[in-house]
Amino acid sequence: MSSEENGQGRKPTVAVFKFASCDGCQLTLLDAEDELLEVADAVEIVYFPEATSTMIKGPYDIGLVEGSITTHHDAERIQQIRRQCRTLVTIGVCATSGGLQALRNWKDVGEFVRRVYAKPDFISTLKMSTPVAEHVPVDFELRGCPISKGQLLELISAMLAGRKPNIPTYSVCLECKRRDNICVMVAEGIPCMGPVTQAGCGALCPSFRRGCFGCFGPMESPNTASLTAQFRVLGQSDEEIVRAFRGFSAWAWQFRQAGEECERS
């Protein structure tokens, strides 16, 4: 989206919003130290409470949304945000699939509230933690816990240049092999979610000889049944397999289904 393209001869405006999340994905933007000045030069960051007290009202050209929807207030606010943003991009696993807090979706959230808070009556929360796309149309998703700095910059550069961002949807394995990692599953028998998980992290965990835990969510065509079968070959119990799928991307439907199928078996 170049300044010519927004039709007003000015830099595109960017707003960053937060819902139920740890702020880690927003920090990825601030963490882009070398490129931050370039980004600040190319776009106008007009609403970013994490970084600045300046809060300019919408509408905005680009809205980056972090976090999942967990309260009635969230559910209303995301509707307003959608109306204010020409392009809405969700960033991170909370926003794209409900996050770790979506583990509540299999439990009684009322029970949690009663145990945790001295005065549970003051707590108003939804039964489920859900991704933004279950509430409003989303234009693009950046996966991960946290998102990849490289992917965020790629997305911003692509939007500014008016081209399609290079955000691959294939498995982590391709990145792993390009990096010359040794497959932890084949060589060490370590269960790894890589074959069913979307690339983007640069195969970070397998590069440190541990299995991928799926924080980038399901790849384009995840064969979870085959991976489940292979986890069993590696000696994983049903409980362990359910836990593998029910992690950071638990509520992503393919992983949700895989965990539930394993529970039923």
Binding site: S171, R178, V186, A187, S226
Partner: protein
């Protein structure tokens, strides 16, 4: 100054200790040397500075979907078979910048990549891997559309072959006509003979360069007994192969069995993760990605290894041609073993077994092909090949 060069094709004998100057000799000639070494849980190919970095005394155990390092009873330097990675990485790199561009007022300038290609000497190249390099030569050095990156790296290559005297359960080189002894395509070929404390190598030069390097190692001509011993060791290893593939008529069979039920069966197990294509020493597919700088003043075009198991691989206007796992698995296998013959004059498989060992789901190419050889049952769709399933 070497006067009498060892004759090309003649076998010489060297004590293991006499090989020590090999790497310094190659480095002196301007090569970077790479060979097998232990990294983490596997024997990989990496830069070597000394033969002490070889995985002496180690071997590897392979099965479909599993690989383990194991100690050997002796101190053999090459007592294992192929690892997780192939020499493809050295000749056809996983990521390469094709060019960059800088904005220049209302126009732009192309900044060409002119980094000098590294000159590699690869030590420990198995005969199946020589066959794989020969296949990539046919694909990437093509008469009309040569790949400049591959060509530059290939031109400077020095190959030290090692004839296998061990095998792995996933090897099937004999079926693919790529079994040892290596006959051509190397500068130097070694066969390791370990017997108690006696550790020797039979060495043969395959090029003038190879003969020059061999001359520096002080070789003595091998006796008939030495030669027989090496032949026997290779023959014994190849006689014990556990896997094979029926190749006569394979191409026609695969085309006829386009709608065989086994494709669906394989697809149920296939993760579409792309590992088989990454570890395959002949798979050459790449994708091209453009990157632009945030400030819009610079851009670059990158080439990366790609896989026919990804959705985007077959993306054309309107969508992907191969949306199902079945269509992708069939595409890979049929290309490798049938269409490759039409395109490049040979199959694209050398029987190294990497796709079997390194498939996280343990899919075994030889078993799939054996199942595909079974009658397909009554033809559906009137016997006409169906258009690729979406």
């Amino acid at each position: 100054m070497v006067t009498n060069l060892p004759a090309i094709g003649t076998q010489f004998l060297l004590d293991a200790a006499a090989l020590a100057p090999l790497i310094p000799s190659l480095e002196r000639r301007g090569y970077q040397v790479a060979g097998p070494t232990i990294r983490g849980a596997a024997i990989v190919y990496d830069t070597l500075h000394s033969l002490d970095e070889l995985p002496a005394g180690w071997t590897t155990e392979h099965e479909a979907g599993t690989y383990r390092l194991k100690k050997r009873a002796d101190d053999a330097w090459f007592g294992f078979t192929v690892g997780p990675d192939s020499w493809k990485r050295y000749l056809h790199p996983p990521e390469a910048r094709l060019f960059a561009a800088r904005r220049d007022g209302q126009s732009f300038q192309i900044v060409e990549e002119n980094a000098e290609a590294p000159r590699w000497a690869l030590v420990g190249v198995r005969s199946c891997e020589l066959a794989a390099i020969a296949i990539q030569d046919r694909v990437l050095l093509g008469e009309h559309y040569g790949d400049v990156i591959y060509e530059a790296r290939r031109r400077g290559l020095f190959l030290v072959a090692v004839n296998c005297t061990v095998n792995s359960p996933t090897c099937f080189c004999v079926s693919m006509h790529s079994a040892p002894p290596a006959e051509a395509g190397f500068d130097l070929a070694l066969t390791e003979l370990v017997e108690g404390p006696r550790h020797r190598f039979l060495a043969e030069a395959g090029s003038r360069q190879g003969a020059e390097v061999l001359a520096e190692l002080g070789p003595a001509e091998a006796t008939a007994t030495d030669r027989r011993e090496a032949e026997e060791a290779i023959k014994k290893a190849m006689g014990g192969l556990q896997r094979s593939m029926r190749t006569a008529g394979l191409r026609e069979m695969l085309y006829e069995h386009f709608e065989h039920p086994r494709w669906e069966d394989a697809a149920a197990r296939c993760l579409c993760c792309g590992n088989c294509t990454m570890v395959c020493p002949t798979c050459f597919c790449t994708t091209v990605e453009d990157r632009s700088a945030v400030d819009g003043n610079g851009a670059e075009r990158l080439r990366k290894w790609d896989s026919c198991f990804s959705e985007n691989f077959s993306y054309i206007h309107g969508g992907s041609v191969r949306m199902s796992a079945k269509s992708r698995y069939r595409q890979w296998l049929t290309h490798k073993l049938a269409a490759w013959v039409d395109q490049f004059g040979s199959a694209g498989c050398v029987g190294c077994g990497r796709c079997i060992t390194w498939c996280p789901a343990g899919i075994d190419l030889t078993k799939e092909v054996a199942a595909l050889w079974e009658p397909a049952g009554p033809p559906r769709n009137g016997g006409h090949p169906a258009p690729g399933p979406r």
